[in-house]
Symmetry: C2
Subunit: 462 residues, 2 copies
């Protein structure tokens, strides 16, 4: 231990002032004043700073700009092509980001005195010591919510330097690159790649596998791959290594070579682990209680590595705080019905049990192609997309599904709530479906599945 002068003793330490940490903090401060919140900066949540919010702001502009391409068909003539001021676009994105982060900071860490807030990178020891630069804090109970960071393979950063972008840095650009490679077409790669392509960037996409936006169901993924390829070329099943060649990025892949200005690395995010002292390196986190080994340490949010999604970070932050407060009595809240939404065009949503977990013998599968006469989609020129739903063959309950369709962010909630409520096909079929709405496409799938379910039940009865 360092000199005792600098030792601070508290009951609770919360490391990380992001979404999970701030949720934990709001629980802890209801109980006691005897806590410290530690953050290594920059302040503001991943969501507000580099994640959900700036990307949604960019996507909104991209969709707006792209929409002008469809104007003529509507009887709207553009005497001159719209001009995109990419510097203004990026400024607007940062302005929103700053609005969200500063509002957040003003209501949280800015309100804390020196006694309650310490700025710096924390390393945690099994005995409850936390080293933050020169400070030593000794906490009885610790909540670790230090978030995650984009995965960048060893050596790539050194080689590529400022030619490599991640979601952490792309919104700092003053202007958009002319030619950009996107490596990794998961959620973030798909969202940003598509938005940038709509904004006029010549995007080239690479993926080591062939699933876009986290889709698992081949019926939806096949559609989405084809649809994305209409916007920007995509090379799948390609394990590529981008190289700096003078001031450009070069990517050699099977069948060609790509040369461009920048590369966006969207290979997923990895929990931060530099908070673990040597002795904590190999301890695992319990997925229910979030406890680290058998220590009074609880790991929540992206740092736990379980979900990497904001609404689960909030839930985990609360669980971690409750368990820190009531330690050694530990509980755990059930994860919500899995719900993942991608703000692409069309939007994607995965809900409930995923395709890879399904046993085909135990389920009824329903499918719908949005080019099949959904009136609402047709009048909006959005009659493209696919729906796949899974129900339990015995009970008729909806288990989950995938959507690749306009407004999937909304229809996904309807389906996620149905799964969590345990609704059966029969109950869903009897729900109100207005007209003309995209929800009628879901109704179509449900009714078809219900026919199959009823037919099977009839057979079983014979």
């Amino acid at each position: 231990m360092k000199t005792t002068q600098q030792v601070k003793r508290v009951k609770f330490a919360i490391i990380g002032a992001g979404s999970a940490g701030l949720t934990a903090w709001s629980e802890i401060k209801k109980q006691t004043d005897d806590y410290v919140l530690i953050d290594s900066g920059p302040l503001g949540t991943t969501c507000a700073r580099v994640g959900c919010m700036p990307s949604k702001a960019l996507i909104h502009i991209a969709e707006h700009y792209q929409a002008w391409q469809g104007a003529a068909a509507l009887g709207i003539e553009l005497p001159a092509q719209p001009i995109l001021h990419d510097d203004q676009v990026l400024k607007r994105v940062r302005r929103f980001r700053d609005r969200f982060t500063s509002g957040l900071i003003a209501n949280t860490t800015d309100k804390l005195s020196e006694q309650h807030f310490i700025s710096g990178r924390a390393v945690v020891y099994p005995n409850g010591e936390i080293h933050v630069d020169d400070h030593v804090i000794v906490a009885e109970r610790i909540i670790v919510a230090v978030g995650s960071k984009p995965i960048v393979p060893d050596g790539w950063s050194a080689n590529l330097g400022d030619l490599a972008l991640t979601s952490d840095t792309i919104f700092e650009l003053e202007t958009l690159p002319k030619r950009l490679a996107v490596i990794g077409l998961g959620v973030i790669g798909l969202e940003l790649g598509q938005a940038l392509a709509y904004l006029g960037v010549e995007v080239m996409g690479f993926d080591a596998q062939g699933q876009v936006g986290g889709l698992q169901d081949p019926f939806c993924n096949e559609f989405m791959l084809e649809h994305v390829a209409k916007t920007f070329p995509v090379q799948i099943n390609q394990q590529v290594v981008p190289l700096r060649v003078q001031n450009q990025v070069k990517i050699t892949y099977q069948g060609g070579e790509w040369l461009g200005d920048k590369v966006l690395l969207t290979l997923g995010r990895r929990p931060n682990s530099d908070w673990r002292s040597e002795a904590l390196q190999n301890l695992t986190v319990d997925p229910v209680t979030l406890q680290l080994g058998d220590l009074p340490i609880f790991v929540a949010g992206d740092a736990s590595g379980f979900h990497g999604i904001l609404h689960e970070a909030n839930r985990e932050g609360k669980t971690a705080a409750q368990n820190a407060i009531h330690y050694p009595v530990l509980t755990g809240s059930k994860p919500l019905t899995p719900t993942a939404i991608v703000f692409s065009d069309p939007q994607l949503c995965r809900v409930g049990v995923s395709f890879n977990e399904l046993d085909p013998r135990e389920i009824i599968i329903g499918s719908f192609d949005l080019n099949c006469n959904n009136g609402r989609a047709i009048v909006m020129d959005q009659d493209y997309g696919r729906i796949r739903l899974y129900a339990d063959r015995t009970s008729g309950r909806l288990l989950g599904g995938e959507l690749a369709m306009p407004s999937a962010e909304h229809l996904g909630h309807l389906l996620a709530w149905s799964v969590q409520t345990g609704l059966t096909l029969n109950e869903m079929s009897a729900m109100p479906f207005y007209h003309p709405v995209l929800e009628e496409a879901v109704q179509n799938v449900i009714d078809t599945m219900l026919d199959e379910f009823n037919a099977e039940q009839g057979l079983t009865k014979n």
Copy 2:
């Protein structure tokens, strides 16, 4: 009875080949070939021909055109203002209408032989006789699904002639009027008035009361009135009579006089009643079984006057058919959770128990103004709107509510399903809410209501 030569005897007659009639027809033809379908034309459902579909097509174009006003704020420069070709707009609307109606007709009445389909206006007699021009049909059981028509006060048509438009005629225009009065700001008046205003028509709105789009809750209606008034001037609580003055329409109201090219009459729709022979004039329709008096006659869809909404027309068509088939054994299906959606800007939705039916002592009310920090709404420049929800004070179950907000067509389904499922505030609060989504605004309301509910339950326990 007329000459026996022309008498045709059938077990079932379905009068009206619209949404309710065609649903009934599809039930009847599963059972027997012994039926006739009668329609007075024009063929095609109200929905596809003059209702839901053409209006949605027009609204989509209007929203697109209107969007250019927001482009500059996004960093998108339009060097010249977009030019609206209103003739092309109206052609596109009619093209969609024709696509929907012809597809429908091809799959239904076009498939029927002369034996099964009769064209003409039907009058029904208590003895089962149906007179259609020269034909007399005698049916054992009759389903009446003759729809509704726009209300036009006596004398207005004669005075105004072609200066008066209704939703039946407006989509026939070759070009848009320059100045248009809209009388009646219910669902159709609001949708069309706003769309036409966005398309550059100088619209003036009049309403005898002061509720727009069918809103009942003052919290939502007050917002919507103010919001609509930003697009076109609205005169409420004004009982006006439009008059033809030379080739223009003149409307005198308290505080002014309006002169313009056309007037759109959107005063609601009234069930068609010209199918009733003298003896049937005063018989009422049972709201559950849809039976007319005690006769083997069943009235469904807009003609019944109960709902005037497509998804209920389908349900009633099915009920009427089932009761005609099983007569004298009658059943009735429960109406779905009331759900009304208006495709205005922002969209409106009313769900479940309506404001006027509420007993304030028995409910908890939750409110939200969308200008309060919903991230998704902010990045889309759509942070305007209001939410009002009602829950039962004793059980905590959601009873209903009103939305005036973007994507209310989707959030309305989420709420309608929640009401129909009987979800409590506690259950809704535990549902997945993704981030960043408009659904978080609903979450905010639910959580606030749940706090109130829990506090009251706590008090009760003391």
